[in-house]
Protein backbone atom coordinates (compact mmCIF):
# COMPACT_ATOMS: atom_id res chain seq x y z
CA UNK A 1 0.00 0.00 0.00
CA UNK A 2 1.70 3.11 -1.18
CA UNK A 3 -0.71 5.87 -0.53
CA UNK A 4 0.32 9.45 -0.05
CA UNK A 5 -3.10 10.46 1.26
CA UNK A 6 -2.87 7.89 4.01
CA UNK A 7 -1.27 10.24 6.53
CA UNK A 8 -3.98 12.86 6.15
CA UNK A 9 -6.64 10.25 6.84
CA UNK A 10 -4.80 8.94 9.89
CA UNK A 11 -4.62 12.46 11.27
CA UNK A 12 -8.27 13.10 10.51
CA UNK A 13 -9.42 9.86 12.15
CA UNK A 14 -7.23 10.42 15.20
CA UNK A 15 -8.72 13.88 15.71
CA UNK A 16 -12.24 12.48 15.30
CA UNK A 17 -11.51 10.13 18.15
CA UNK A 18 -10.03 12.93 20.26
CA UNK A 19 -6.72 11.08 20.60
CA UNK A 20 -3.42 12.95 20.77
CA UNK A 21 -0.40 12.11 18.61
CA UNK A 22 1.49 11.03 21.72
CA UNK A 23 -1.27 8.64 22.79
CA UNK A 24 -1.57 7.01 19.39
CA UNK A 25 2.21 6.80 18.97
CA UNK A 26 2.51 5.04 22.28
CA UNK A 27 -0.27 2.59 21.43
CA UNK A 28 1.39 1.45 18.21
CA UNK A 29 4.93 1.60 19.58
CA UNK A 30 6.51 4.44 17.58
CA UNK A 31 7.78 7.87 18.51
CA UNK A 32 5.39 10.83 18.30
CA UNK A 33 7.76 12.59 15.88
CA UNK A 34 7.68 9.59 13.51
CA UNK A 35 3.87 9.56 13.69
CA UNK A 36 3.94 13.26 12.92
CA UNK A 37 5.96 12.59 9.76
CA UNK A 38 3.49 9.86 8.76
CA UNK A 39 0.50 12.12 9.37
CA UNK A 40 1.98 14.81 7.16
CA UNK A 41 2.56 12.28 4.39
CA UNK A 42 6.32 12.57 4.68
CA UNK A 43 6.82 8.87 5.42
CA UNK A 44 5.19 6.04 3.59
CA UNK A 45 3.99 3.15 5.68
CA UNK A 46 2.68 -0.30 4.95
CA UNK A 47 2.48 -3.79 6.43
CA UNK A 48 2.24 -4.51 10.18
CA UNK A 49 2.57 -0.89 11.34
CA UNK A 50 -0.30 0.18 9.12
CA UNK A 51 -2.36 -2.70 10.49
CA UNK A 52 -1.57 -1.61 14.06
CA UNK A 53 -2.53 2.01 13.41
CA UNK A 54 -5.78 0.94 11.74
CA UNK A 55 -6.49 -1.27 14.76
CA UNK A 56 -5.72 1.52 17.23
CA UNK A 57 -7.98 3.90 15.31
CA UNK A 58 -10.70 1.24 15.06
CA UNK A 59 -10.96 1.58 11.32
CA UNK A 60 -10.52 -0.93 8.45
CA UNK A 61 -7.46 -0.84 6.19
CA UNK A 62 -9.55 -0.16 3.11
CA UNK A 63 -11.19 2.83 4.80
CA UNK A 64 -7.77 4.24 5.56
CA UNK A 65 -6.42 3.71 2.09
CA UNK A 66 -9.25 4.72 -0.14
CA UNK A 67 -8.50 3.69 -3.72
CA UNK A 68 -10.68 6.45 -5.09
CA UNK A 69 -8.74 9.09 -3.19
CA UNK A 70 -5.45 7.61 -4.24
CA UNK A 71 -6.55 7.88 -7.88
CA UNK A 72 -7.79 11.41 -7.26
CA UNK A 73 -4.41 12.34 -5.89
CA UNK A 74 -2.67 10.98 -8.98
CA UNK A 75 -5.12 12.78 -11.24
CA UNK A 76 -4.57 16.11 -9.51
CA UNK A 77 -0.82 15.55 -9.76
CA UNK A 78 -1.23 15.21 -13.51
CA UNK A 79 -3.44 18.27 -13.71
CA UNK A 80 -0.75 20.32 -11.96
CA UNK A 81 1.52 19.57 -14.95
CA UNK A 82 -0.97 20.49 -17.67
CA UNK A 83 0.40 23.15 -20.02
CA UNK A 84 -2.67 25.32 -19.28
CA UNK A 85 -1.64 25.51 -15.62
CA UNK A 86 2.00 26.26 -16.16
CA UNK A 87 3.15 29.40 -14.40
CA UNK A 88 0.08 29.53 -12.16
CA UNK A 89 1.96 28.02 -9.26
CA UNK A 90 -0.45 25.18 -8.46
CA UNK A 91 0.84 23.85 -5.12
CA UNK A 92 1.53 20.28 -6.16
CA UNK A 93 3.04 19.37 -2.80
CA UNK A 94 -0.23 20.26 -1.07
CA UNK A 95 -2.55 18.11 -3.22
CA UNK A 96 -3.18 15.64 -0.43
CA UNK A 97 -4.06 18.42 1.92
CA UNK A 98 -6.51 19.71 -0.66
CA UNK A 99 -8.13 16.28 -0.97
CA UNK A 100 -8.22 15.84 2.77
CA UNK A 101 -9.73 19.24 3.52
CA UNK A 102 -11.85 19.98 0.45
CA UNK A 103 -12.71 16.61 -1.10
CA UNK A 104 -15.63 18.05 -3.06
CA UNK A 105 -13.55 20.77 -4.68
CA UNK A 106 -10.77 18.29 -5.40
CA UNK A 107 -13.20 15.99 -7.19
CA UNK A 108 -14.62 19.00 -8.99
CA UNK A 109 -11.22 20.03 -10.35
CA UNK A 110 -10.60 16.48 -11.54
CA UNK A 111 -14.03 16.35 -13.19
CA UNK A 112 -13.42 19.65 -14.98
CA UNK A 113 -10.05 18.48 -16.21
CA UNK A 114 -11.60 15.23 -17.42
CA UNK A 115 -14.30 16.97 -19.41
CA UNK A 116 -11.73 19.35 -20.86
CA UNK A 117 -9.60 16.39 -21.91
CA UNK A 118 -12.54 14.59 -23.48
CA UNK A 119 -13.47 17.67 -25.45
CA UNK A 120 -9.89 18.14 -26.67
CA UNK A 121 -9.54 14.49 -27.58
CA UNK A 122 -12.77 14.66 -29.50
CA UNK A 123 -11.54 17.67 -31.43
CA UNK A 124 -8.35 15.79 -32.22
CA UNK A 125 -10.23 12.71 -33.37
CA UNK A 126 -12.42 14.74 -35.69
CA UNK A 127 -9.50 16.66 -37.10
CA UNK A 128 -7.49 13.48 -37.46
CA UNK A 129 -10.43 11.94 -39.24
CA UNK A 130 -10.69 14.79 -41.69
CA UNK A 131 -7.15 14.29 -42.86
CA UNK A 132 -6.95 10.49 -42.78
CA UNK A 133 -10.42 9.13 -43.27
CA UNK A 134 -10.62 6.81 -46.32
CA UNK A 135 -14.35 7.41 -46.72
CA UNK A 136 -13.89 11.15 -46.93
CA UNK A 137 -10.94 11.08 -49.29
CA UNK A 138 -12.62 8.58 -51.60
CA UNK A 139 -15.79 10.64 -51.77
CA UNK A 140 -13.98 13.90 -52.25
CA UNK A 141 -12.18 12.20 -55.13
CA UNK A 142 -15.51 11.09 -56.62
CA UNK A 143 -16.95 14.53 -56.20
CA UNK A 144 -14.00 16.16 -57.99
CA UNK A 145 -14.32 13.70 -60.89
CA UNK A 146 -18.03 14.47 -61.29
CA UNK A 147 -17.35 18.20 -61.15
CA UNK A 148 -14.55 17.82 -63.71
CA UNK A 149 -16.94 16.25 -66.22
CA UNK A 150 -19.71 18.79 -65.59
CA UNK A 151 -17.36 21.74 -65.82
CA UNK A 152 -15.65 20.57 -68.99
CA UNK A 153 -18.90 19.72 -70.82
CA UNK A 154 -20.67 22.91 -69.78
CA UNK A 155 -17.69 24.96 -70.95
CA UNK A 156 -17.93 23.23 -74.33
CA UNK A 157 -21.64 24.08 -74.58
CA UNK A 158 -20.86 27.65 -73.71
CA UNK A 159 -17.81 28.06 -75.96
CA UNK A 160 -18.83 26.25 -79.17
CA UNK A 161 -21.89 27.49 -81.06
CA UNK A 162 -21.73 24.90 -83.83
CA UNK A 163 -22.18 21.65 -81.90
CA UNK A 164 -24.11 19.08 -83.94
CA UNK A 165 -27.48 18.10 -82.45
CA UNK A 166 -26.53 14.52 -81.63
CA UNK A 167 -23.40 15.72 -79.80
CA UNK A 168 -25.38 18.35 -78.00
CA UNK A 169 -27.86 15.75 -76.79
CA UNK A 170 -24.99 13.63 -75.58
CA UNK A 171 -23.52 16.56 -73.64
CA UNK A 172 -26.91 17.35 -72.09
CA UNK A 173 -27.19 13.76 -70.97
CA UNK A 174 -23.70 13.88 -69.43
CA UNK A 175 -24.55 16.96 -67.41
CA UNK A 176 -27.79 15.35 -66.28
CA UNK A 177 -26.09 12.08 -65.29
CA UNK A 178 -23.09 13.66 -63.64
CA UNK A 179 -25.03 16.22 -61.66
CA UNK A 180 -27.25 13.47 -60.29
CA UNK A 181 -24.21 11.43 -59.31
CA UNK A 182 -22.68 14.54 -57.76
CA UNK A 183 -25.76 15.13 -55.69
CA UNK A 184 -25.66 11.50 -54.46
CA UNK A 185 -22.06 11.86 -53.36
CA UNK A 186 -22.78 15.19 -51.70
CA UNK A 187 -25.72 13.66 -49.87
CA UNK A 188 -23.63 10.73 -48.65
CA UNK A 189 -21.03 13.17 -47.39
CA UNK A 190 -23.65 15.29 -45.65
CA UNK A 191 -25.16 12.26 -43.91
CA UNK A 192 -21.71 11.17 -42.87
CA UNK A 193 -20.75 14.55 -41.45
CA UNK A 194 -24.12 14.82 -39.74
CA UNK A 195 -23.45 11.56 -38.00
CA UNK A 196 -20.11 12.86 -36.86
CA UNK A 197 -21.84 15.87 -35.33
CA UNK A 198 -24.33 13.82 -33.36
CA UNK A 199 -21.55 12.91 -31.00
CA UNK A 200 -21.83 9.38 -32.31
CA UNK A 201 -18.40 7.90 -31.92
CA UNK A 202 -19.03 4.87 -34.10
CA UNK A 203 -18.01 5.44 -37.69
CA UNK A 204 -16.16 2.61 -39.38
CA UNK A 205 -16.22 -1.18 -38.96
CA UNK A 206 -13.03 -0.95 -36.91
CA UNK A 207 -14.69 1.59 -34.62
CA UNK A 208 -17.78 -0.60 -34.30
CA UNK A 209 -15.71 -3.51 -33.04
CA UNK A 210 -13.70 -1.27 -30.75
CA UNK A 211 -16.94 0.03 -29.27
CA UNK A 212 -18.11 -3.53 -28.69
CA UNK A 213 -14.96 -4.50 -26.79
CA UNK A 214 -14.91 -1.21 -24.93
CA UNK A 215 -18.52 -1.52 -23.80
CA UNK A 216 -17.72 -4.90 -22.28
CA UNK A 217 -14.40 -3.73 -20.78
CA UNK A 218 -12.75 -6.37 -22.96
CA UNK A 219 -14.22 -9.18 -20.89
CA UNK A 220 -16.89 -11.60 -22.12
CA UNK A 221 -18.07 -13.71 -19.25
CA UNK A 222 -20.21 -16.00 -21.44
CA UNK A 223 -17.19 -16.88 -23.59
CA UNK A 224 -15.00 -17.37 -20.53
CA UNK A 225 -17.55 -19.75 -19.09
CA UNK A 226 -17.80 -21.99 -22.15
CA UNK A 227 -14.11 -21.83 -22.97
CA UNK A 228 -13.11 -23.13 -19.56
CA UNK A 229 -14.83 -26.43 -20.33
CA UNK A 230 -13.38 -26.63 -23.85
CA UNK A 231 -9.87 -25.99 -22.59
CA UNK A 232 -9.70 -29.42 -21.01
CA UNK A 233 -10.33 -31.12 -24.37
CA UNK A 234 -7.46 -29.46 -26.20
CA UNK A 235 -4.60 -31.90 -26.54
CA UNK A 236 -1.09 -31.08 -25.41
CA UNK A 237 0.69 -31.12 -28.77
CA UNK A 238 3.10 -28.40 -29.97
CA UNK A 239 2.49 -24.68 -29.58
CA UNK A 240 1.25 -24.06 -33.11
CA UNK A 241 -1.00 -27.12 -33.11
CA UNK A 242 -2.54 -26.22 -29.77
CA UNK A 243 -3.20 -22.74 -30.99
CA UNK A 244 -4.88 -24.03 -34.15
CA UNK A 245 -6.89 -26.58 -32.14
CA UNK A 246 -8.12 -23.83 -29.82
CA UNK A 247 -9.04 -21.67 -32.79
CA UNK A 248 -10.94 -24.56 -34.43
CA UNK A 249 -12.75 -25.37 -31.21
CA UNK A 250 -13.70 -21.71 -30.73
CA UNK A 251 -15.04 -21.47 -34.29
CA UNK A 252 -16.98 -24.73 -34.02
CA UNK A 253 -18.32 -24.66 -30.49
CA UNK A 254 -18.75 -21.02 -29.64
CA UNK A 255 -20.29 -19.56 -32.77
CA UNK A 256 -23.79 -19.40 -31.24
CA UNK A 257 -22.53 -17.54 -28.19
CA UNK A 258 -20.56 -15.15 -30.38
CA UNK A 259 -23.55 -14.54 -32.69
CA UNK A 260 -25.63 -13.77 -29.63
CA UNK A 261 -23.10 -11.20 -28.40
CA UNK A 262 -23.00 -9.50 -31.80
CA UNK A 263 -26.79 -9.51 -32.12
CA UNK A 264 -27.17 -7.75 -28.80
CA UNK A 265 -24.64 -5.09 -29.60
CA UNK A 266 -26.25 -1.93 -30.98
CA UNK A 267 -22.91 -0.53 -32.19
CA UNK A 268 -22.39 -3.32 -34.72
CA UNK A 269 -24.40 -2.07 -37.67
CA UNK A 270 -22.55 -3.01 -40.84
CA UNK A 271 -21.78 -6.38 -42.41
CA UNK A 272 -18.08 -5.55 -42.38
CA UNK A 273 -18.28 -4.68 -38.68
CA UNK A 274 -20.02 -7.98 -38.00
CA UNK A 275 -17.36 -10.02 -39.83
CA UNK A 276 -14.61 -8.22 -37.99
CA UNK A 277 -16.32 -8.58 -34.62
CA UNK A 278 -16.83 -12.32 -35.20
CA UNK A 279 -13.17 -12.84 -36.14
CA UNK A 280 -11.96 -10.96 -33.06
CA UNK A 281 -14.34 -12.74 -30.73
CA UNK A 282 -13.19 -16.11 -32.07
CA UNK A 283 -9.64 -15.02 -31.35
CA UNK A 284 -10.69 -13.98 -27.87
CA UNK A 285 -12.37 -17.36 -27.35
CA UNK A 286 -9.31 -19.25 -28.63
CA UNK A 287 -7.15 -17.38 -26.12
CA UNK A 288 -9.68 -18.13 -23.39
CA UNK A 289 -9.55 -21.83 -24.26
CA UNK A 290 -5.76 -21.87 -24.05
CA UNK A 291 -5.61 -19.77 -20.88
CA UNK A 292 -8.76 -20.28 -18.80
CA UNK A 293 -9.40 -17.17 -16.74
CA UNK A 294 -9.38 -18.65 -13.23
CA UNK A 295 -6.05 -20.41 -13.68
CA UNK A 296 -4.61 -17.49 -15.61
CA UNK A 297 -5.63 -14.90 -13.06
CA UNK A 298 -4.13 -16.90 -10.20
CA UNK A 299 -0.87 -17.44 -12.05
CA UNK A 300 -0.70 -13.85 -13.29
CA UNK A 301 -1.07 -12.53 -9.76
CA UNK A 302 1.52 -14.83 -8.28
CA UNK A 303 3.98 -14.26 -11.15
CA UNK A 304 3.39 -10.51 -10.95
CA UNK A 305 2.09 -10.36 -14.54
CA UNK A 306 5.41 -11.50 -16.02
CA UNK A 307 4.44 -11.98 -19.68
CA UNK A 308 7.29 -14.31 -20.59
CA UNK A 309 6.99 -16.40 -17.44
CA UNK A 310 3.26 -16.78 -18.04
CA UNK A 311 3.90 -17.74 -21.65
CA UNK A 312 6.27 -20.49 -20.48
CA UNK A 313 3.94 -21.60 -17.70
CA UNK A 314 0.99 -22.06 -20.03
CA UNK A 315 3.05 -23.11 -23.07
CA UNK A 316 1.57 -20.49 -25.38
CA UNK A 317 2.76 -17.50 -27.38
CA UNK A 318 3.33 -14.15 -25.67
CA UNK A 319 0.67 -12.39 -27.74
CA UNK A 320 -1.99 -14.69 -26.24
CA UNK A 321 -0.75 -13.73 -22.77
CA UNK A 322 -0.99 -10.05 -23.71
CA UNK A 323 -4.57 -10.54 -24.89
CA UNK A 324 -5.49 -12.31 -21.68
CA UNK A 325 -3.95 -9.57 -19.53
CA UNK A 326 -6.34 -7.05 -21.07
CA UNK A 327 -9.25 -9.44 -20.45
CA UNK A 328 -8.60 -9.67 -16.71
CA UNK A 329 -11.77 -8.65 -14.88
CA UNK A 330 -11.88 -5.02 -14.00
CA UNK A 331 -11.41 -4.70 -10.24
CA UNK A 332 -9.34 -2.55 -7.95
CA UNK A 333 -6.87 -5.24 -7.04
CA UNK A 334 -5.92 -5.99 -10.68
CA UNK A 335 -3.79 -3.64 -12.76
CA UNK A 336 -5.55 -2.36 -15.89
CA UNK A 337 -3.64 -3.31 -19.04
CA UNK A 338 -3.83 -1.66 -22.43
CA UNK A 339 -2.70 -3.45 -25.55
CA UNK A 340 -1.43 -2.39 -28.97
CA UNK A 341 -0.33 -4.36 -31.97
CA UNK A 342 1.53 -2.72 -34.84
CA UNK A 343 2.50 -4.16 -38.19
CA UNK A 344 5.93 -3.68 -39.75
CA UNK A 345 4.78 -0.46 -41.40
CA UNK A 346 4.15 1.00 -37.95
CA UNK A 347 0.38 1.10 -38.30
CA UNK A 348 -1.50 0.19 -35.16
CA UNK A 349 -3.74 -2.65 -36.20
CA UNK A 350 -5.24 -3.61 -32.88
CA UNK A 351 -5.70 -1.76 -29.66
CA UNK A 352 -7.33 -1.94 -26.32
CA UNK A 353 -7.36 1.54 -24.89
CA UNK A 354 -6.40 2.51 -21.42
CA UNK A 355 -7.78 5.43 -19.49
CA UNK A 356 -5.55 8.52 -19.71
CA UNK A 357 -3.45 6.99 -22.49
CA UNK A 358 -4.13 9.17 -25.51
CA UNK A 359 -3.86 7.31 -28.79
CA UNK A 360 -4.52 8.58 -32.27
CA UNK A 361 -7.21 6.63 -34.07
CA UNK A 362 -6.24 7.17 -37.64
CA UNK A 363 -2.62 8.21 -37.59
CA UNK A 364 0.66 6.63 -36.69
CA UNK A 365 1.68 6.73 -33.06
CA UNK A 366 4.69 8.56 -31.61
CA UNK A 367 7.92 6.98 -32.93
CA UNK A 368 9.45 7.21 -29.46
CA UNK A 369 7.20 4.48 -28.10
CA UNK A 370 9.21 1.40 -27.23
CA UNK A 371 6.89 -0.46 -29.58
CA UNK A 372 8.96 0.76 -32.48
CA UNK A 373 12.25 0.03 -30.78
CA UNK A 374 11.11 -3.53 -30.13
CA UNK A 375 10.35 -3.85 -33.82
CA UNK A 376 14.02 -3.38 -34.60
CA UNK A 377 15.11 -6.30 -32.42
CA UNK A 378 12.54 -9.06 -32.84
CA UNK A 379 11.91 -11.65 -30.13
CA UNK A 380 13.41 -9.46 -27.41
CA UNK A 381 11.31 -7.94 -24.66
CA UNK A 382 11.68 -4.21 -24.04
CA UNK A 383 10.42 -2.09 -21.19
CA UNK A 384 9.94 1.66 -21.21
CA UNK A 385 8.99 4.10 -18.49
CA UNK A 386 7.12 6.78 -20.40
CA UNK A 387 5.76 10.19 -19.52
CA UNK A 388 3.14 11.87 -21.71
CA UNK A 389 2.75 15.62 -22.17
CA UNK A 390 -0.21 15.47 -19.76
CA UNK A 391 2.16 14.22 -17.07
CA UNK A 392 0.55 10.77 -17.13
CA UNK A 393 3.12 8.02 -16.65
CA UNK A 394 3.01 4.54 -18.10
CA UNK A 395 5.16 1.48 -18.31
CA UNK A 396 5.24 -0.07 -21.77
CA UNK A 397 6.37 -3.63 -22.45
CA UNK A 398 6.89 -4.61 -26.09
CA UNK A 399 8.05 -7.55 -28.16
CA UNK A 400 8.08 -8.23 -31.90
CA UNK A 401 7.13 -11.73 -32.95
CA UNK A 402 7.04 -13.47 -36.32
CA UNK A 403 3.58 -14.02 -37.68
CA UNK A 404 4.49 -16.06 -40.70
CA UNK A 405 5.16 -19.75 -40.85
CA UNK A 406 8.63 -20.42 -39.51
CA UNK A 407 10.54 -22.43 -42.09
CA UNK A 408 13.68 -21.98 -44.11
CA UNK A 409 13.32 -19.69 -47.10
CA UNK A 410 10.02 -18.14 -46.01
CA UNK A 411 10.24 -14.42 -45.30
CA UNK A 412 9.45 -13.49 -41.71
CA UNK A 413 6.74 -10.93 -41.16
CA UNK A 414 6.90 -9.44 -37.72
CA UNK A 415 4.18 -7.77 -35.72
CA UNK A 416 4.88 -6.02 -32.46
CA UNK A 417 2.77 -6.41 -29.36
CA UNK A 418 2.89 -3.80 -26.66
CA UNK A 419 1.24 -3.88 -23.27
CA UNK A 420 0.71 -0.63 -21.39
CA UNK A 421 0.07 -0.19 -17.70
CA UNK A 422 -0.05 2.98 -15.63
CA UNK A 423 3.04 3.54 -13.52
CA UNK A 424 0.94 3.28 -10.40
CA UNK A 425 -0.38 -0.14 -11.44
CA UNK A 426 3.06 -1.20 -12.67
CA UNK A 427 4.26 -1.40 -9.06
CA UNK A 428 2.22 -4.56 -8.74
CA UNK A 429 4.09 -6.16 -11.65
CA UNK A 430 7.62 -7.40 -12.35
CA UNK A 431 7.98 -4.42 -14.66
CA UNK A 432 7.87 -1.91 -11.79
CA UNK A 433 10.34 0.87 -12.47
CA UNK A 434 12.61 2.15 -9.73
CA UNK A 435 14.01 5.63 -9.27
CA UNK A 436 16.96 4.82 -11.52
CA UNK A 437 14.76 3.80 -14.42
CA UNK A 438 15.06 6.41 -17.11
CA UNK A 439 11.85 8.34 -17.67
CA UNK A 440 11.35 8.88 -21.39
CA UNK A 441 9.25 11.69 -22.80
CA UNK A 442 6.82 10.38 -25.40
CA UNK A 443 3.59 11.64 -26.94
CA UNK A 444 0.44 10.32 -28.56
CA UNK A 445 1.28 11.30 -32.17
CA UNK A 446 2.89 14.40 -33.62
CA UNK A 447 -0.44 16.02 -34.42
CA UNK A 448 -1.70 15.51 -30.90
CA UNK A 449 1.56 16.32 -29.14
CA UNK A 450 2.43 19.76 -27.80
CA UNK A 451 6.20 19.15 -27.48
CA UNK A 452 7.17 21.62 -30.16
CA UNK A 453 10.90 21.16 -29.78
CA UNK A 454 10.91 17.36 -30.19
CA UNK A 455 13.50 16.44 -32.79
CA UNK A 456 11.35 13.55 -34.00
CA UNK A 457 8.49 15.83 -34.91
CA UNK A 458 7.22 15.29 -38.46
CA UNK A 459 4.00 17.34 -38.57
CA UNK A 460 2.91 20.49 -36.78
CA UNK A 461 0.81 20.06 -33.68
CA UNK A 462 -2.88 20.90 -33.86
CA UNK A 463 -2.78 22.85 -30.66
CA UNK A 464 -2.36 26.58 -30.98
CA UNK A 465 -0.66 28.52 -28.29
Amino acid sequence: MLSSILGTRIRQRRRELGTTQAELAKKVGISPSYLNLIEWNKRRIAGPLLGKIAGALDISLSELDDVAERRLSITLGEIAHLPALSGLGAEEERINELIGRFPGWARGIAALARSEREATERAYILSDRLSNDPFLSENVHRMLSRIAAIRSVSEIINDYSDIPDDRREQFDRIIFEESRALSDVAEALAVYLDKAEEGEKVFTPVDEVEALFQSRANHFEEIEHESAALGKKIGGQGLGMRRQAAFDAASAELSDTIDEIIRNQPQITTAAGERRARAQLIEYAAAAILLPMDAFKAAATSMKYDIEALSAEFACDTDIVCQRLTALPNDDSTPAFGYFRANAAGTIIRMHRLERLPVPRYAVACPLWVLFRAQQSPDMLFRQRAIFPSGARFVFIAKAISQSKIEYGTPRHYVTDMVAVSEDDAFETVYAPDDDTRLEEVGPSCRLCPREQCRHRVTDPLTDN
Binding site: H141, A148, I150, E155, I174
Partner: protein, 125 residues
Amino acid sequence: MTARVLLAEDEENILTSLTFLLERAGYDVSVETEGPKVLRSALDTPPDVLVLDVMLPDMDGYEILRRLRASPTTRSLPVLMLTAKGQREDRETALRCGADLFITKPFANSEIISAIGQLAEKRVQ
Protein backbone atom coordinates in the same frame (compact mmCIF):
# COMPACT_ATOMS: atom_id res chain seq x y z
CA MET B 1 1.20 16.75 -89.97
CA THR B 2 -1.55 16.28 -87.38
CA ALA B 3 -0.25 15.50 -83.89
CA ARG B 4 -1.66 12.35 -82.32
CA VAL B 5 -2.87 12.39 -78.72
CA LEU B 6 -3.49 9.23 -76.71
CA LEU B 7 -6.11 9.78 -73.99
CA ALA B 8 -5.78 7.35 -71.08
CA GLU B 9 -8.84 7.92 -68.89
CA ASP B 10 -11.48 5.61 -67.45
CA GLU B 11 -14.21 8.15 -66.78
CA GLU B 12 -16.39 7.86 -69.85
CA ASN B 13 -17.89 11.34 -69.67
CA ILE B 14 -14.59 13.12 -69.20
CA LEU B 15 -13.32 11.11 -72.15
CA THR B 16 -16.22 12.27 -74.33
CA SER B 17 -15.59 15.89 -73.52
CA LEU B 18 -11.79 15.69 -73.93
CA THR B 19 -12.15 13.86 -77.25
CA PHE B 20 -14.47 16.57 -78.53
CA LEU B 21 -12.13 19.34 -77.41
CA LEU B 22 -9.00 17.80 -78.88
CA GLU B 23 -10.62 16.92 -82.20
CA ARG B 24 -11.87 20.49 -82.47
CA ALA B 25 -8.34 21.67 -81.74
CA GLY B 26 -7.15 19.61 -84.70
CA TYR B 27 -5.58 16.59 -83.03
CA ASP B 28 -5.82 12.99 -84.04
CA VAL B 29 -7.26 11.37 -80.89
CA SER B 30 -7.11 7.77 -79.72
CA VAL B 31 -8.47 6.44 -76.48
CA GLU B 32 -7.65 3.72 -73.92
CA THR B 33 -9.49 3.05 -70.65
CA GLU B 34 -7.48 0.27 -68.98
CA GLY B 35 -3.97 0.48 -67.55
CA PRO B 36 -2.21 -2.41 -69.34
CA LYS B 37 -3.79 -1.45 -72.68
CA VAL B 38 -2.55 2.12 -72.32
CA LEU B 39 0.98 0.83 -71.78
CA ARG B 40 0.80 -1.55 -74.77
CA SER B 41 -0.60 1.09 -77.09
CA ALA B 42 1.95 3.74 -76.05
CA LEU B 43 4.85 1.31 -76.47
CA ASP B 44 3.66 -0.11 -79.81
CA THR B 45 2.73 3.16 -81.47
CA PRO B 46 4.01 6.08 -79.40
CA PRO B 47 1.68 9.09 -79.70
CA ASP B 48 2.94 12.67 -79.86
CA VAL B 49 1.35 13.42 -76.48
CA LEU B 50 0.01 11.10 -73.79
CA VAL B 51 -2.72 12.41 -71.45
CA LEU B 52 -2.55 10.00 -68.51
CA ASP B 53 -5.04 9.74 -65.67
CA VAL B 54 -3.54 8.52 -62.39
CA MET B 55 -6.48 6.32 -61.46
CA LEU B 56 -6.80 3.59 -64.08
CA PRO B 57 -8.01 0.03 -63.65
CA ASP B 58 -5.39 -2.74 -63.30
CA MET B 59 -2.30 -0.53 -63.51
CA ASP B 60 -2.13 3.03 -62.25
CA GLY B 61 -0.77 6.01 -64.11
CA TYR B 62 2.45 6.19 -62.08
CA GLU B 63 3.36 2.59 -62.90
CA ILE B 64 2.59 3.10 -66.60
CA LEU B 65 4.77 6.19 -66.63
CA ARG B 66 7.63 4.43 -64.85
CA ARG B 67 7.59 1.67 -67.46
CA LEU B 68 7.37 4.10 -70.35
CA ARG B 69 10.39 5.98 -69.04
CA ALA B 70 12.32 2.71 -68.88
CA SER B 71 11.81 2.01 -72.57
CA PRO B 72 14.07 3.74 -75.17
CA THR B 73 11.19 4.52 -77.58
CA THR B 74 9.07 6.31 -74.97
CA ARG B 75 11.78 7.72 -72.70
CA SER B 76 11.09 11.28 -73.78
CA LEU B 77 7.42 10.91 -74.75
CA PRO B 78 5.60 14.09 -73.59
CA VAL B 79 3.19 13.14 -70.81
CA LEU B 80 0.48 15.22 -69.16
CA MET B 81 -0.81 13.69 -65.95
CA LEU B 82 -4.36 14.10 -64.69
CA THR B 83 -5.64 13.42 -61.24
CA ALA B 84 -8.53 14.33 -59.00
CA LYS B 85 -6.40 14.56 -55.93
CA GLY B 86 -4.74 17.93 -55.85
CA GLN B 87 -2.49 17.03 -52.96
CA ARG B 88 1.14 17.93 -53.03
CA GLU B 89 2.44 14.39 -52.70
CA ASP B 90 0.56 13.34 -55.85
CA ARG B 91 2.11 16.16 -57.74
CA GLU B 92 5.54 15.20 -56.46
CA THR B 93 5.03 11.54 -57.30
CA ALA B 94 3.89 12.45 -60.81
CA LEU B 95 6.90 14.64 -61.44
CA ARG B 96 9.29 12.11 -59.92
CA CYS B 97 7.90 9.39 -62.18
CA GLY B 98 8.72 11.63 -65.11
CA ALA B 99 5.54 13.53 -65.99
CA ASP B 100 6.19 16.68 -68.04
CA LEU B 101 3.10 18.50 -66.83
CA PHE B 102 0.46 17.90 -64.22
CA ILE B 103 -3.18 19.06 -64.10
CA THR B 104 -5.74 18.42 -61.35
CA LYS B 105 -9.44 17.80 -61.84
CA PRO B 106 -11.58 19.80 -62.15
CA PHE B 107 -9.73 21.71 -64.84
CA ALA B 108 -10.66 24.52 -67.23
CA ASN B 109 -10.80 23.34 -70.85
CA SER B 110 -8.47 26.13 -71.91
CA GLU B 111 -5.92 24.96 -69.33
CA ILE B 112 -5.76 21.43 -70.67
CA ILE B 113 -5.76 22.46 -74.34
CA SER B 114 -2.92 24.86 -73.76
CA ALA B 115 -0.92 22.23 -71.84
CA ILE B 116 -1.35 19.69 -74.63
CA GLY B 117 -0.45 22.37 -77.18
CA GLN B 118 2.77 23.09 -75.31
CA LEU B 119 3.75 19.42 -75.22
CA ALA B 120 2.86 18.81 -78.89
CA GLU B 121 4.96 21.80 -79.94
CA LYS B 122 7.89 20.50 -77.94
CA ARG B 123 7.51 17.19 -79.76
CA VAL B 124 7.60 18.83 -83.20
CA GLN B 125 10.73 20.82 -82.46
